[in-house]
């Protein structure tokens, strides 16, 4: 099975308090970047689906990671290669020129070249939280899609049983390949992903570590670059951001003397009771 995993770098959410807005634009100087966590789950899912339980040395399939972004985003691609992905593609672009639609169309062009059996995407990127690329891509390709996958079971690598996390439980869909599947957090639970080649052991919770030797080997794995304009004829983004602003800082709290004052304030100032 050949699996394509689009991967976006995002500003480290742990350092989100450092985000600055200058003249209505996000100021990215000094931000630390890391892979979008949901995309990391997608890479992990792809690795599990292509794992040969009988022999860990042999992989049953290929995992290609792809990003649309500047040269520095290769660090995140190398990171994915170090955890086990086989090769990487970078579509050169500046973050400011992109929206979900351009990204989906760029990926479509790569899909036409690579002809993967499956595209695994994170359900959303934790920066803009747009939750669009997977859906747009499926539509552009005319492929079946299943979003918010919490479990995936491969049926002979021709179809997938996807447990989708929906309000009130799990909805199971069968999608025939090729398809687009977006993954949710629970996909990296120890037994969420299985195929007929799955190893007998259960996985550790979460995404795997990059082993030292794999980090060293990642350097030698192929990484190719395309220009955005080579892949999409009309690279103009459809979404234009007019301005950005930070949420207002929280007001300091106040101390109340007693319960009576609290009730009074809740009733007359906050008007919640």
């Amino acid at each position: 099975m050949k699996i394509l995993v689009p991967l976006k770098r995002v500003a480290d959410p742990d350092n989100a308090n450092k985000v600055k807005v200058t003249a209505g634009k996000l100021d990215t100087t000094g931000m630390q970047w890391k892979p979008n966590p949901f995309d990391e789950y997608a890479v992990e899912t792809a690795l599990r689906l292509t794992e040969n339980g009988a022999s860990t040395k042999v992989r049953l399939g290929e995992v290609i990671v792809l990003t649309v972004g500047p040269k520095e985003a290769e660090t995140q691609l190398r990171g994915a290669l170090a955890t086990g992905a086989d090769r990487a593609i970078r579509i050169d672009a500046t973050d400011d020129d992109l929206d979900g639609d351009v990204v989906a169309r760029a990926i479509r062009a790569v899909v036409e070249k690579e002809k993967p059996d499956l595209i695994l995407v994170g359900k959303q990127a934790v920066d803009g939280d747009s939750n669009q690329v997977g859906q747009l891509l499926a539509e552009y390709l005319g492929w079946p899609q299943a979003t918010f996958a919490g479990t995936i079971k491969s049926e002979g690598d021709t179809a997938l049983l996807v447990g989708r996390e929906v309000d009130g439980g799990t909805l199971t869909l069968r999608v025939t390949l090729p398809a687009v599947v977006s993954v949710d957090l629970r996909i990296v639970a120890p037994t969420s992903v299985s195929s007929k080649h799955s190893p007998t052991h259960t996985y550790a919770d979460g995404v795997r570590f990059a082993a030292l030797m794999a980090i060293m080997a990642a350097k030698k794995k192929p990484m190719v670059e395309f220009k955005l304009s080579e892949l999409v004829s009309d690279a103009a983004a459809k979404i234009a951001y007019t301005t950005h602003e930070l949420p207002p800082p929280r007001k300091a709290g106040i101390k109340v003397k007693d319960v009576a004052e609290l009730v009074d304030k809740l009733r007359n100032e906050a008007r919640v009771v």
């Binding site: 000094g30 570590f209 990059a210 030292l212 030797m213 060293m216 990642a218």
Partner: protein, 619 residues
């Protein structure tokens, strides 16, 4: 006894520090990575490795730190049971490969520069000192064998120990042989086939047995029957717990058993064992390197001693650094008291304790000491890497670098370990009562860190190594080169626009230090040798302070150059600013003490020696 301890990581490291040392202060890029020895290693590999290793320790070893402390080790049916999760962490560590980062590829490692390994050791030790000792000693034992073992021994033992299939220990200490290793009484009787019957008891053996790997390989110092007394007659033996055949299949039990484990102040997850060899006359060992290497045990040990002593210094930096970063977090969070500016106003708003001058003093003091000790350790590692790279290419330069390694080892071991305990103690003080409780990590850090000044040669043994051996090594050339390096820096920067004044403090300290070195020499020559051990620790501290002050000021010069090009909101702006202040703090608050200590040496006061034993106390 102990309440249930949760598996939560509380270890913190600042990787920006590591990158600064490697790529800004020391020229890893041009001096080391450019060498064909490190072809596989580039900046990307290093950054990714350190980041992944940090992630590994936060998720795997860090969460077990408090658990190991609370549970400790137990003897169950004559075997050591390590704390919950240690076995899993061991497996994961060797799967990930971090322990082998600078092991040569032919032994299954990744062949990284030594400086990178020192950083990986900091992450492993800092996240969980007790756990890290098991793989750490195994690596030390394997390293000795890499140098001296026969090819068969290497194939049988070293490869398996590097992979973590088998563990390893270093067995030197005995009830009557602590600092004085030469008093060792463990015996080895030749059996005529190149093997020896080993008999004796070793104490305080870290990881003297454990359940992390299927076999434990002990390196045991023992005296072959008829060998000379003292260290000259000691041979280093390979003594497996279970005898393997030549293919490595495990066979019979080798009569190695754990008599007891110590109940300790800290590093409770590390089993400190009494190990009995040959209680039933059935313990067999072979000399490392075969019969050709009899009576060379001590010189073999010396090869790994540098590495082991640096590793202890790094343990100190590691634990102290995390204690500092935790205290810093707490100080930003805890509100108590109001600003001194409002001291008359009882209703003034409460402030975070980081706003109080005394708390800030403690924080910057910890910062300067931690970052200075780390810089010293990495400087040493850098010398080691350079010595290897230049060997056979430029022997004179290589000898300079080896000389600096030899000279700095006792400083890194003793100063970092002493500072570690003090930094941890200060961290508790920053927290106040909370720091004294188990709800916060610093009391464990403090307990764990005390051992660093004791094992691998007590800090006094280090000080005597410095003043008795190292200062005069190569006719004093190493010491002169060190003083020369500092002097060069002083000459270049004493008129520096920002830190010139601080550099002048360094100049004064260095002058005082040189005077004290002459004093030591004079004592040796004038028959006042008893002054030497009395002042050795003080001298080691003075020299360490000069070294640390120098390296901190070097950092400040770099920071000062870079600062104008960094936007104010950029994290590097704060980073470089911190470098400037830490160096100035150390220069003005610690370095002046060097001249003062030199004056104490000049006093030649001998109260400590002259006081009669009976006069110490009447009980």
């Amino acid at each position: 006894m102990s309440k249930v301890v949760q598996a939560i990581n509380r270890y913190k490291a600042d990787l920006r520090e590591f990158e600064f040392l490697l790529f800004e202060q020391f020229n890893l890029r041009t001096d080391i990575l450019a060498s064909d020895l490190y072809e596989a290693w580039g900046e990307d590999e290093i950054r990714t490795s350190l980041a992944e290793c940090y992630r590994f320790v936060k998720e795997v070893t860090g969460p077990l730190n408090a658990i190991g402390d609370a549970e400790g080790c137990k003897i169950v049916d004559g075997r050591i049971k390590t704390p919950t999760g240690f076995k899993n962490a061991w497996n994961k560590l060797y799967e990930a490969g971090w322990r082998g980062i600078s092991v040569k590829p032919e032994f299954g490692g990744a062949g990284a520069p030594y400086a990178i390994m020192v950083m990986v050791e900091e992450l492993l030790s800092g996240s969980n000192t007790a756990f890290a000792m098991y793989p750490g000693l195994c690596a030390g034992a394997a390293e000795v064998m890499m140098h001296f073992a026969t090819d068969e021994q290497k194939a049988l033992f070293v490869i398996r120990m590097i992979k973590g299939e088998w563990g390893g220990t270093m067995c030197l200490t005995e009830p009557s042989a602590g600092s004085d290793v030469g008093s060792s009484r463990t015996t080895a009787r030749p059996l005529g086939d190149g093997t020896y019957a080993i008999a004796g008891t070793k104490i305080y053996i870290s990881g003297g047995d454990h359940d992390l790997a299927e076999n434990v390989i002990h390196l045991v110092l023992a005296r072959v029957d008829g060998a000379p007394a003292g260290t000259k007659g000691l041979t280093l033996f390979i003594v497996p717990r279970i005898r393997p055949n030549a293919e490595g299949l495990l066979g019979e039990f080798n009569d190695v058993s754990v008599g007891a484990i110590e109940h300790k102040m800290g590093i409770n997850g590390s089993a400190t064992c009494v190990v009995n060899f040959g209680e039933n006359g059935q313990c067999i060992g072979t000399p490392v390197g075969g019969d050709a290497r009899l009576n060379q045990g001590m010189s073999q040990m010396f090869v790994m001693m540098n590495g082991a002593r640096i590793a202890v210094g790094i343990q100190g930096v590691a634990v102290a650094s995390s204690a500092y970063l935790n205290a810093l977090d707490y100080a930003k969070d805890r509100k108590q008291g109001s600003s001194i500016a409002n001291w008359k106003d009882a209703t003034a708003p409460r402030v975070a304790i980081i706003e109080h001058a005394d708390v800030r003093r403690m924080l910057i003091d910890m910062k300067a000491r931690v970052e200075g000790c780390r810089a010293l350790a990495i400087k040493l590692a850098y010398h080691q890497d350079m010595a290897i790279i230049l060997k056979g290419k430029d022997d004179e330069a290589s000898a300079y670098h080896i000389g600096q390694v030899d000279l700095l080892v006792p400083l890194v071991k003793a100063y970092s370990s002493d500072q570690a305990f003090r930094v941890c103690e200060t961290a508790i003080q920053v927290y106040g009562g909370a720091g004294y409780t188990r709800d916060y990590p610093v009391e464990q850090s403090c307990r764990d860190s005390k051992i660093f000044s004791i094992y691998e040669g007590t800090n006094h043994i280090q000080a005597m190594d410095l003043v008795g051996r190292k200062l005069g090594q190569r006719g004093g050339a190493n010491t002169q080169a060190f003083i020369g390096d500092v002097a060069k820096f002083v000459a270049a920067h004493s008129e520096h626009p920002r830190i010139g004044g601080a550099v002048k403090q360094l100049a004064a300290a260095q002058e005082a230090l040189a005077g004290s070195a002459m004093k030591l020499l004079y004592w040796f020559q004038a028959g006042k040798v008893q002054q030497v051990p009395l002042q050795a620790n003080r001298f080691l501290e003075m020299m360490s302070e000069v070294a640390v002050g120098w390296l901190l000021l070097e950092q400040a010069v770099i920071a000062h150059t870079k600062l104008p090009d960094v936007a104010e909101g950029h994290p590097d702006h704060a980073f470089y600013t911190g470098k400037l202040f830490a160096a100035e703090y150390y220069a003005h608050n610690v370095l002046p003490g060097v001249a003062f200590k030199a004056s104490l040496l000049d006093n030649e006061n001998t109260s400590a020696i002259d006081i009669p034993d009976a006069a110490f106390a009447t009980v």
